[in-house]
């Protein structure tokens, strides 16, 4: 009955357009990008019993914060551990499983709300939904790279742009749904979870139905693989297990981790930072607009930088991220001291575009360094850098700020040292990226190994 999920059933027939694959990937990424908007449920979930205000039996914000953290941890774990499986079964089965996990996670969480059992929400959204996030995130990457050998950066950028844009849809949609389901005795979270679960399940299933893999040996019309590839673009393939033995994997891990750390640290603090650096100029409402604008540039950067990398090269793109990032982070305290909101916003808009660009460009960078055969699985393992950055970034920003305020630094100036430390992290990232070299020939798969892996 589930035979349609097999890789053999997803091979494209003549007359198929490869431009159908990006919307298939977007169907998944636009849904799982919801995770960035999960915080809209936090406050309403502290009033499930008391409705208008928190009752003693209601859950605390600190307890609810674990739902998002668990989801991100399981995103990283599932991406790391299911990459090889995904490679074997193909994108459709992986997307189907991701849809079941992510949509199902919402439904289990709705049951948790109904029974007022927090552990069910940890299990539902955090663990099951988190696995759906990881699987969904990596499932279309290799397929897109294979369909677009001429523009792999643009193709993966399109999909990963959806992950950035998902929150922009989910946030207002969730607020609207909660308004529809709320009543004097209900805050509307359970109904919203059920609706979102069904909606995301259906939307992701459309993606699974649309996705196709190219026939063996396919190439776009007019495309000829370069006979003399660029220095950092291989025509060979490295096995996922072998990739972990190369220094290039760890250099890229560091590059991604440092780029994400710098962005994620300020993303979480953007609202408070803008208000404290510009007291009286940026209100709480305007700060919410600032956060929205950063999300938009995060999304735009994913497409823009990943597409640009097809022309200027992956290493050069990251050189720009690190060099320009250092300059911009160093400038931010100055924008505060001269009171220029426009310059402050402009600096952060570019910084966040490069944060998104870092995520979107890494699959094509991996493809250049390790080849296409195991790029999905290798990408999955590399995403552990994201989990590490998710802890490192906010910790750095929060603790340094707290330390300074405790030592008498005015709130408006408390972010300066943080910004300089972020610039320092980017300098380390610049060096790691600069050290990138092609993988040694001994790590490449032989023709026989490649053939055997294809047959398997």
């Amino acid at each position: 009955m589930l035979g349609w999920l097999d890789r053999s059933h997803t091979v494209a027939k003549p007359g198929f357009s490869r431009w159908l694959v990006p919307p298939a990937a977007l169907c998944v990424h636009l849904c799982i990008g919801q995770v960035y908007a999960f915080s809209v449920f936090n406050l309403p979930m502290t009033r499930l019993v008391g409705i208008t205000e928190s009752a003693p039996d209601d859950w605390k914000l600190t307890e609810l914060g674990w739902i998002f953290s668990l989801a991100i941890v399981f995103l990283g774990l599932s991406a790391a551990f299911t990459g090889t499986w995904l490679d074997r079964v193909g994108p459709r089965r992986a997307m189907f499983t991701a849809a079941l996990c992510f949509g199902g996670g919402f439904l289990v969480s709705a049951l948790g709300i109904h029974l007022h059992q927090l552990w069910l929400i940890y299990l539902g959204y955090g663990v099951i939904g988190g696995c759906g996030l990881g699987l969904g995130y990596i499932s279309p990457v290799k397929t897109l790279i294979t369909w677009f050998p001429d523009r792999p950066g643009m193709a993966t950028g399109l999909a990963i742009m959806g992950f950035g844009g998902g929150a922009m849809i989910a946030s207002p949609l969730s607020v609207w749904l909660m308004e529809q389901f709320s009543s004097p005795t209900n805050v509307g979270v359970m109904g919203t979870f059920v609706m979102l679960g069904i909606l995301y399940l259906c939307f992701m299933m459309i993606g699974a139905a649309l996705v196709r893999v190219p026939p063996e040996g396919w190439a776009p019309e007019g495309y000829v693989a370069p006979a003399q590839p660029k220095k950092l673009v291989t025509v060979n393939h490295v096995h996922v297990d072998e990739a972990l033995k190369t220094k290039q994997f760890y250099l890229l891990w560091g590059v991604l981790c440092l780029n994400v750390t710098a962005g994620i640290g300020v993303l979480g603090q953007a609202s408070a930072m803008s208000q404290e650096m510009f007291p009286g100029q940026i209100t709480a409402v305007a700060a919410a607009g600032f956060v929205g604008l950063l999300s938009l540039f995060n999304m735009i950067g994913r497409f823009f930088w990943a597409s640009s990398s097809d022309y200027i090269g992956r290493r050069n793109t990251y050189m720009i991220f690190f060099a320009l990032g250092m300059v911009l982070y160093a400038i931010v305290p100055w924008t505060g001291s001269v009171g220029s909101v426009v310059l402050f916003v402009a600096c952060y808009a570019v910084i966040l575009s490069m944060y998104g660009g870092g995520f979107a460009t890494i699959p094509a960078y991996l493809r250049d360094i390790f080849g296409t055969r195991y790029v999905g699985a290798i990408h999955g393992r590399l995403l552990t850098a994201w989990s590490a950055a998710g802890v490192l970034g906010p910790v750095l920003v929060n603790y340094i700020r707290e330390y300074q305020i405790n030592n008498g630094v005015p709130k408006a100036d408390a972010y300066s040292v943080t910004m300089y430390i972020m610039a320092g992290l980017l300098f380390v990232g610049f060096i790691l990226n600069w050290l990138m070299t092609p993988v040694d020939d001994k790590h490449h798969m032989s023709e026989a190994e490649l053939k055997a892996s294809m047959e398997a």
């Binding site: 494209a12 003549p14 007359g15 198929f16 357009s17 431009w19 159908l20 919307p23 298939a24 977007l26 169907c27 636009l30 959806g162 844009g165 922009m168 849809i169 207002p172 459309i206 649309l210 026939p215 040996g217 396919w218 190439a219 776009p220 019309e221 495309y223 000829v224 693989a225 025509v235 060979n236 393939h237 940026i282 409402v285 305007a286 700060a287 919410a288 607009g289 600032f290 929205g292 604008l293 999300s295 938009l296 999304m299 909101v341 426009v342 916003v345 080849g371 023709e447 490649l450």
Partner: protein, 46 residues
């Protein structure tokens, strides 16, 4: 590694329709999200 250069024929009519539908399906919610965000962001410069 050798790479052959086979490619498909013209995109079929049915797939052209699918193409329009699929991009509309993902484009509309994305556009709605972007417009919503821009409307909120405008408050920053008021």
């Amino acid at each position: 590694m050798t790479e052959t250069t086979t490619h498909h024929d013209e995109v079929s009519g049915a797939n052209k329709v699918k193409l329009v539908l699929a991009w509309t399906l993902v484009g509309i919610p994305l556009l709605w999200g972007v417009l919503n965000t821009l409307a909120k962001s405008a408050l920053l410069f008021q």
